[in-house]
């Protein structure tokens, strides 16, 4: 019988606790952490990674939780995408994350894939990144030496390269409550409507003051080596009056902030055009959530 993919040989470890996992990670050379495995197992099949040691953290309940501490929502890195998607706290407080999860992979994938795995895999197309970036999430990185916190905007260094040190695990995602009057939206363009990676995806978070833009946060994926915030575009919209001309004029700046490549999913030129369109639409949708009327019309 034909076997299409053979996984490399590795030593398999199943730590009983987070502490034991951190110790193993510290002591074992050439190791990889296994969470849901939807990226790692595939990457081992295609030979991208050939770890000598695989440390399974998928069963660690210590890393599976969604907590509301009154000022932020804390999500354990090992929580599956489906669990987060079905969480009422998430849907109510940070709907922009739920919108991204809703269209990630398939039900089968979301049942095992974790939020920590999506971030640590550090694909330019990671779909949880744009919402977490506009929500200004903090990431808790732990090793046997202790814990440190980094903002998600400092976490990605390049495709598949992160801020994580060799002996560190991502253990928690801390999402401060968004301002109570914020509108937010996630929009993803793929080659089909479902079960696909993004050509570009955009998350926005907007507040308004005195009929002008106040807080404006825009994040995109698949248009640079890492997911990114479009700070210059955000800046140029702040304090501007809210109308369609202003929005259309200013979102063009997004094209200067991104560095898309051409690949199997789309050309760089198409990605640039679509980044502008999706950013505009995400801003309009965020405003719609705030019941803002633009040019006398409700969008």
């Amino acid at each position: 019988m034909a076997i299409f993919y053979l996984l490399p040989r590795f030593n398999y470890y199943k730590p009983k606790s987070l502490n034991e996992a951190l110790k193993l990670l510290n002591d074992l050379e050439n190791s990889k952490v296994l969470a849901g495995g939807t990226d790692l197992v595939l990457d081992m099949k295609i030979g991208r990674y050939k770890p000598e040691n695989v440390i399974d953290i998928s069963h660690l309940n210590e890393l599976k939780y969604i907590k509301d501490d009154g000022k932020s929502i804390r999500i354990g890195a090992g929580t599956t995408l489906q669990t987060i998607l079905e969480s009422n706290i998430v849907r109510k407080k940070i709907p922009v994350l739920a919108e991204a999860l809703e269209i990630m992979g398939s039900w089968q994938l979301r049942n095992v894939a974790t939020i920590g795995g999506n971030l640590c895999n550090a694909s330019p197309a990671a779909d949880t990144a744009p919402p977490l970036m506009v929500l200004e999430a903090q990431l808790k990185l732990e090793s046997i030496e202790g814990a440190r916190y980094v903002p998600i905007t400092k976490f990605f260094h390049g495709p598949r390269i992160t801020e994580l040190k060799r002996n560190e695990l991502l253990t928690e995602i801390i999402i401060p409550y968004p301002p109570s009057n914020a509108g937010m939206k996630f929009l993803k363009l793929g080659r089909r409507a479902a079960h696909t990676l993004s050509i570009v995806a955009v998350a926005t978070l907007i507040t308004i003051k005195d009929d002008k833009f106040d807080i404006v946060r825009i994040a995109l994926n698949s248009v640079a080596p890492t997911p990114l915030r479009a700070y210059k575009t955000e800046e140029s919209l702040k304090d501007k009056p809210i109308n369609l001309n202003v929005i259309e004029e200013n979102v063009k700046r997004v094209a200067e902030e991104i560095k898309p490549i051409s690949d199997v999913r789309a050309s760089a030129e198409y990605r640039k055009e679509m980044s502008i369109v999706l950013t505009r639409d995400a801003i309009l949708e965020s405003l719609k959530m705030l019941n803002v009327k633009i040019g006398g019309e409700e969008f």
Binding site: I3, R9, F10, V41, D56, S106, W107, V112
Partner: protein
């Protein structure tokens, strides 16, 4: 290494290398041939099994991750030579052509109908995102699941 789990209600123990996928454990070690080898990369859903009730692609699960879990394959659904109402519905609706995708679809449908006995067409489509079919065009599969929902409601009354 020894891995033990419940397969279709019965405890099984297998001696497997850790770099074997659950798909291969089921097909090659345990002879469960309803679980199909399709893309082997999480795209097609032909290898779908239920782990603790949730549909999962067995091609992306490592054997040792099955330890202590309850795994259900299509074989579980037919009892004493009688097929399950969802299987009946697939036959009656003409939702099967080559049949390669069918076990995966039926298991996903089974998990869906357990959670949501009366799903809308959109809810059915959403649940089935991860199951691909090259033959039927999906319409009859959706009809089969609507029919199955009716049958199951009738049985439970």
């Amino acid at each position: 290494m020894i891995v033990s789990f419940k397969l279709n209600g019965e405890l099984v123990e297998v001696d497997v290398p850790p770099n074997m996928t659950l798909l291969d454990v089921l097909r090659r070690k345990l002879g469960i041939l309803s679980v199909k080898r399709g893309c082997e990369r999480g795209e097609c859903g032909a290898c779908t099994v239920l782990i603790n009730g949730d549909p999962v692609c067995s091609c992306l699960v490592l054997a040792p991750q099955a330890e202590g879990k309850e795994i259900i394959t299509l074989e579980y659904l037919s009892k004493n030579g009688e097929i399950h109402p969802i299987q009946e519905a697939f036959i009656e609706a003409g939702a099967i052509q080559c049949g390669f995708c069918t076990p995966g679809f039926i298991l996903t449908a089974y998990a869906l109908l357990k959670r949501n006995p009366n799903p809308t067409i959109d809810e059915i489509k959403k649940a089935l995102e991860g199951n691909l079919c090259r033959c039927t065009g999906y319409i009859k599969i959706i009809e089969a699941i609507q029919l199955a929902a009716k049958k199951l409601q009738r049985y439970s009354r």
